[in-house]
Symmetry: C2
Subunit: 386 residues, 2 copies
């Protein structure tokens, strides 16, 4: 097994004053410091990044990270899975430790999105969907999720107000997260009054464009015990794929990849949704959180909107969802998101989460999605009594 | 340990008639067919691709591959390490099997480069170097390797004719490779008479712009024995990093990442350069092959040019280098190259290489480089007596 022994996250924001490299450095140094280990102990790096080629004209991000951290000549690998890049980097690092190749591995996620115009960002993010079948014909990401929202409204009576309740909750949680992009309480009326981007999705149903980085230090259980380190154990990390274009799917009211990854993660751990104390889920749009909490088994299919409206997913609800503020409140630097979710799992299970602390949290699930659901990754964590 | 049980490569060419997806499908089907297994047996996919975002406006390549092959919902992950993307994808897949997570894994590499103008390709490939320190100031890849060539000429007396001898040999080998981009014998005078791209590097010192894909099926030793499969065993796969910009390096006459990766691969296998029967090395420019055969220990530092001129690296020489034709003769679809090198290892060690067969080859080394040497990956193979 594998233990997270340190985590670091930059402030998620529009960082006009910080470069791609500086974001990486800040997150990595925080993670290394929190692990209590010297950086020289790190044996390999896995970095998640979606579209640096289009955002800043730079590929070969693995080598860049090792270089920037002064960690040459250790192997350093970039993983890309659209907005699930960070989660997949984490799983890849986890498997590299399980393979016996490495004992101590750094995982990073980074994206610098604000160098392009909003139009440029939309086009770059579109690369997460199907260029030939969707984007070429004018589909953007809000419009794809709008189709999922419409189907959910039609089949289950989900309302725009219920979707708005996701945004309101996540903004409320983000106020307690010093690294969140937004520290501003919003009300249902604010969301309902914000303009349509792609009906029924409004501006305040969308996660923002963000610069940011997150990092983790992973360690094999054996090494963590040898060094007397505490941390958070990864007890399952499961990944699944689905059709890249949403036209290839039988149902628009569930993300099958989420269901498959969750099913395997529950199987592997012997846990059920009831055993999870809180979850960080992929709320790139408010409808995405409703889909997620249903597909992960926390609520019956079709009941996610009502549950959110009733407060069952709030910080003190039945199952707190996105205590960090989620992608909506915390921000969504796409390649960093999956790693930041794992960092939140670490902070919460180590009881370092301050005012957003979920009481008595022992088991956590994170859920990271690429594109409109073509990749999903579900990871389950518990406190490691090192 | 891990065994390659099947391999497939498309023709490397300017494929105006084939899309990115079609290239993937062709290589994958060939690999699956050569393994003798049904595609349903594949449990995970790792795909190497450098810059699809800039070449064809498409990211999220892992999901695209699984989708195109009809292999949803298995996990499918894209790995990017510039021109070493394929080699790093192979190592990542290899570690995923060693981790126990999977028994049978497909590895792919793909690039569709000819959709852009030559200028667009140069700029996209530039993302393999350091955007801020090198590209922004006008450096292109030929100019970076020209600096390495100049340093080698100055320190060791390497000549332009010796570099030309690399191109002549690799074109000669490519004639026997039906999938090679070039089937045309060239002479030293042709190379010497071709125009300078970045002095001393001339047009015929450069690998071409290529569309293509390559795929492998990997299997755990245990599973291969259980199924009675033959193949080629990966006995080491080692990766190292170096400064992204060449300004950060102490020496311009060696690629330190190559040396480090090779050293570890030799240590891990107990082999020395003398035990290697032939090698596929990263000859993106002719000087790169000279550096490689020195840094891998086949020839003393400074003697690579002379050795090539004397024919020691030809198909019937002391140690055949790039029997496939190498990047220069076979073509260099950047994300596919590392996987195609491993495919050549498979064909040769299985004695399927036809007229370019290296006689009595039992042990092979492949060497894949990202950028101007910021990533290097060295893999060693031997025949698996399944």
């Amino acid at each position: 097994m594998v233990v997270i022994i340190g985590a670091g996250v930059t402030k998620f924001d529009e960082h006009w004053e910080l470069s791609f490299r500086e974001l990486i450095l800040e997150a990595a140094l925080k993670a290394i410091e929190s692990s209590g280990l010297h950086g020289e102990k790190i044996e390999a790096i896995y970095g998640g990044c979606m579209a640096s080629g289009r955002f800043i004209g730079q590929e070969h991000i693995g080598a860049l990270i090792a270089d920037q951290l002064g960690l040459n000549p250790i192997p350093s690998t970039r993983v890309e899975a659209a907005c699930a890049s960070g989660g997949v980097a984490l799983r890849t690092a986890y498997l590299s430790i399980k393979s016996g190749a490495h004992d101590i591995v750094a995982v990073g996620g980074v994206e610098k999105m604000t160098e392009l115009s909003t139009e440029g960002v939309s086009f770059a993010l579109g690369g997460a969907g199907d260029q030939e079948i969707e984007l070429f014909h004018g589909a953007t990401f809000p419009s794809l999720y709008a189709l999922l929202a419409r189907a959910h409204m039609q089949d289950f009576g989900t309302t725009e107000e219920q979707m708005a309740a996701v945004a309101v909750k996540n903004h409320a949680n983000a106020i307690f997260n010093p690294n969140a992009q937004f520290h501003r309480q919003i009300a249902i009326e604010d969301v309902m009054g914000s303009g349509y981007v792609a009906e029924p999705i409004k501006v305040l149903d969308c996660s923002p464009i963000t610069d940011g980085a997150a990092a983790l230090i992973l360690c094999s259980n054996e090494k963590a015990e040898e060094l007397g380190l505490k941390g958070v154990e990864i007890i399952a990390s499961e990944q699944a794929s689905d059709s890249l274009a949403i036209t290839g799917r039988k149902s628009l009211t569930e993300l099958k990849a989420t269901r498959m990854a969750a099913q395997r993660a529950y199987q592997k751990t012997g846990l059920s949704p009831k055993d999870i104390d809180f979850a960080e889920v992929h709320d790139c749009f408010t409808i995405a959180e409703i889909l997620a909490i249903e597909d992960l088994g926390f609520f019956e299919k079709g009941k996610g909107g009502i549950a959110t409206e009733k407060g069952e997913t709030s910080l003190k609800g039945k199952i707190p969802i996105n205590p960090s503020g989620g992608l909506k409140g915390k921000g969504h630097p796409v390649g960093a998101t999956g790693v930041a979710q794992a960092a939140e799992a670490y902070y919460q299970l180590m009881e370092l989460a301050g005012e957003r602390q979920v009481k008595k949290a022992k088991t956590c699930l994170t859920h990271n999605v690429g594109g409109s659901g073509a990749t999903a990754i579900v990871t389950i964590y518990r406190r490691f009594k090192g």
